[in-house]
Amino acid sequence: MSMKQVADWALDTAKQRGSQYADLRIVDDRSRSLATKNGKVGHASSAESLGIGIRVLVNDSWGFASTDDLSREAVDRTSAEAVEIAKASARVKEHPVRLAPEPAVKIEWASPCKIDPFKTSVEENLDLLIRIDRELLGVQGVTLAESNLQFGRYEQWFFNTEGSAIHQTRHITGAGYAALSFQGTEIQKRSYPNSFGGQYQNKGYELIEELKLVENARRIGEEAVALHKADQCPQGNMTLLLGSSQLGLQIHESIGHPIELDRVLGMEANFAGTSFLTLDKLRKLQYGSELVNVVADATEHHGPGLGTFAYDDEGVQAQCTPIITDGLFTGYISSRETAHTIGENRSNGTMRAEGWNRIPLIRMTNISILPGKKPLTFDQLLSGTDDGIFMETNRSWSIDDKRYNFQFGCEIGWEIKGGKLGRMLKNPSYSGITTEFWNSMDAICSRDQWTLWGTPNCGKGQPMQTMGTGHGAAPARFRSIKIGTAYKGN
């Protein structure tokens, strides 16, 4: 049985039952997940999931049904169910769905992968994690060491009634670790290369070799313990330097989410929220300073981010969309259904689904700030800063449901005095209003300091879908930022 045959069953049934348009995705999703805790195996598993999700448009309304059974009987039944669901949708409708046109395409694509992670031995994987744990535990005062490796292979066949047939395979690799230290009345934590699981990219095992995991473990353990003796981060309005991974999350929350056109149009109002970026603000709002240039770039050219693909889950080719251009707000991320609301005749290709059992939604691709055009190393950025605080690695993150007011906590901070890093600061945090924050950026490091970070855990939709997104960022400086409010009054 070929995937084309399964697709024909589904699309034929949908057409026979009256659908104006139908598409489907068959997904074969495989993963390996390994974790250690204090030098012992904490988690060790593999998983595979195969199924089909069928989306139909009937009476100008959507229906979607999915099943893990690829037999003809089940696929026909599921396709018919999608049509019935769409008919029910049509009973409560204010406006018909209008799809922007899209040419049919037939293509095969796979993300570049030098070393297939599934061909690496589990023994080798566990040995790496245990060596990291040993390094972390070698530091007196580290009370918990946790390391993890995640591999994924996501193979998808997309077909629609317009004649598209797109076969894509992505390899995803991720790794990271954390050292925790409990003393007195404090739990301090340091993570590497990023918090919440580490760094993730659309790559093979070569990513693990690039991350220099073991080499950094001792330093991370030492920093976790040293935080206990560090001074509390002060409160007040100050100059703030952010490390690139924290800036990546700042982009995710205060640019990536508000530019989602479905949020802007109220389609996520019940759960994820709406957006302050109402349609009247396009090409009018000064989102940031002139140094702020942000793109939504899903193309391979941008790098192996978690938002890199050839075609989205509506069969639209990956694109690079300017989101903020020299500080001016210039673009949303859209879908075939929503493109017309901003006067566009084509989607910019950002619809993705978590798996075969979920519908595609507008999701961030790689939402990245472009590096500074003039050469600027981190040391140069630092030496040009007389007085301020440098923060690195996220510890907490929160933003309101229109994406105005945010607060971030970081794992570690340092005072900056006279262009140099001074005393270590614990429990650093900062807060602000999105546009005020981005307009206060007065420096960003150049390309050699830029990293394409992966956020594997972005939640959206009902039922909730978790999606990987990419965020390229370099260290940057912001003036007159509110620091330390997280501990105010506590």
Partner: protein, 474 residues
Amino acid sequence: MVLVDRETRKGNQAMLDEQQAHEIFRQIKKSASVDEVEVIFAATNSSLTRFANNTIHQNVAEVNAVASIRVAFDGKTARATTNRFDPESLKRAVQSAESIARVQEPNSDLLPLASAADGKLDRPLPNRWFVHTASITPADRAEAVGQIVAVAKKNGLTTAGIYSSSESVEGIINSNGLSNFHRRTSAEVSITMLADDSSGWQKSNSPNVKDVEHLRLAEVAAQKARDSRSPKELPPGKYTVVLEPAAVLDLVGFMFWDFGGMAILDQRSFLNNRIGTKLFGENVTITDDVYHPLQSGAPFDGEGVGRKRTTLVEKGTIKNLVYARGTAEKMRHSEYAGKVGQIEVTGHGFPLPNELGEAPMNVVFVNSAGEQTVEQMIVATGRGILITRLWYIREVDPYEKILTGMTRDGTFLIENGKIKHGIRNFRFNQSLIDLLSGVEAMGKPVRASGEESFDMVVPAMKVRDFNFTEVTKF
């Protein structure tokens, strides 16, 4: 929603049943080259109708079943999960689990598989499968959504939300004779009503759709949206707050991950060095009780062990933790034995192997100090804030349990015992320890549903000195 002619329906006949699961287990066991095999089954038929801008814009259904196979031998264990039940796929999954386990160093903490005796339940579980819920159709959901939209239009509002229904089976079988299954249904309605500069929200879920009153929820959400129009800005600071149950739920949910024995052993719990101390107010008593009539979920844990009712907090004092089998054994031989209350297996473990150990999953607050309605709390408040719902809550400090987040969808100033007007939403940075030490009044515990935490049975609360640190622009 119209409930007609449903008693005769039998739910979805295609659901995986216990007999099929045992047959699949036999096939898996045959493929395994090791003696100890455990399989967790999870099957679901679920549907969700989503609406926004007074329109059903997403409408989905899913049928899926997985077998999650764990093998154990010589102190080694691993898991492989598949949703393909053909012999070849099952064999591949077994081999994957075995190959991942084989290369491990033996772990002396690993126990033999749970026995049939371990799987025995404490007491009978209330019925959690309802034919009315299992039989809900897309047309039923559309009809209910149409009624919600009508409420929105009547009030000059637009609405967004969901109406979902599902039927699911969870089960576990192992080669040591344990077999436990749980069948349940779930219905959930969540409604946001939106005006130009305000909004209101309500949510409810239950195994029995008859308990989910979508029209009442729509009316309450609409009233909140109407009443909070033209919100005024108040300065941040410490205020007395009246937290509706959903707001209480989403806050307190952040502390229960710390009530597992493993969290103490790992020294990542805010209860380290605090068990047996009076950490909260005298009026705070909390249990974990899967058998409670307002609770939901399976009465056994990730190893199939029967859940026990456990008192976590009694009159403000931290009394007990919950334990998986392996954690209890480890705790008994640790430096903490004698300092952490009673150490007994409570049936709260996550599927093995895992790093987290266990956590309470069926939290029930007990209010023996006298119940007040939200209205009574408002009447007794000179100046304060009424909070409907909280949003994007995250942990700022893990030991002092400081949480940050925002108010959302219905925040009001209370003055002289009355709702005065809607206010712009606040950011808070609030210690949970301080919060539960400052509870001035509590309501009747109800089954509450939010977005940040699993569902619990919690009361509304009136709390003094809630710490708002910033205000947003709406």
